[in-house]
């Protein structure tokens, strides 16, 4: 089936440094998402992105977070600067959009801030 690829699978970074998480969504999909999951717990919505713009973001999407998808390239989540509480697994997802279309998730990037 369609695959969402996330690079890298694991990233360790010093607190205060910048990190960029990369996502290669399903090729014809139009909507892109980032979710945060701590220790196999609840998936928390961070942001969704469509037509080059953030559509909606949650309270977890702090000012230090930003997303972009330059033409045809990766959909990225940048955190600058990182904090200890940013340690989590970040899942990228994509969908065609529209009523009840399937959202496909990647395998996640485990971010460890030390």
């Amino acid at each position: 089936g369609p695959k969402v690829l996330q690079i890298p699978s694991h990233q360790i970074i010093d607190m205060g440094q910048m990190v960029t998480l990369n996502c290669d969504p399903v090729s014809n999909h139009l909507y892109f998402y980032w979710y945060k999951q701590i220790l196999g717990q609840q998936m928390e919505f961070l942001v969704n992105f469509y037509n080059g713009k953030v559509m909606e973001k949650s309270k977890l999407f702090k000012d230090q977070f930003s997303v972009e998808r330059p033409d045809g390239s990766y959909f990225t989540l940048k955190i600058q600067p990182t904090a200890l509480e940013d340690s989590a697994v970040y899942f990228c997802a994509s969908s065609l959009g529209g009523r009840s279309t399937e959202v496909f998730f990647g395998k996640g990037t485990r971010l460890t801030v030390v």
Binding site: E44, R99, V103
Partner: protein, 112 residues
């Protein structure tokens, strides 16, 4: 405020039995309810979904029962197999909205 609640947190059933996973929600605007299955080290994968206009949806061994009045739904897994052992997330979104809200998940273990 947790908009989607799941119970139990964990569930163990014997192979061949029916596992029942429960979910409730608060937001009346939710009308699309997907269930996701997640294995360790993997992302969630859509298992089965239902729209609020229906009260039941079947797909093989998996059935969703939906009660709009009580804002409750449940996932029934018939003839449980050890390969069904995973975490199951109930999720919800409103009409035309691309944001999916997840419950905390139920960790299901099937004993052979």
């Amino acid at each position: 405020q947790q908009q989607v609640r799941q119970s139990p947190q964990s569930l163990t059933v014997w192979e061949g039995e029916t596992a029942i996973l429960n979910c409730s929600y608060e937001n009346s605007a939710f009308d699309y309810f997907p269930w996701y299955q997640q294995f360790p080290g993997e992302g969630p994968a859509l298992l089965i979904s239902i729209l609020s206009v229906s009260d039941k949806k079947e797909d093989g061994r998996f059935t969703i029962f939906f009660n709009k009045r009580e804002k409750k739904l449940s996932l029934h897994i018939a003839d449980s197999q050890p390969g069904d052992s995973a975490t199951y997330f109930c999720a919800a979104s409103p009409y035309g909205n691309e944001k999916i809200t997840f419950g905390a998940g139920t960790k299901l273990t099937i004993k052979p």
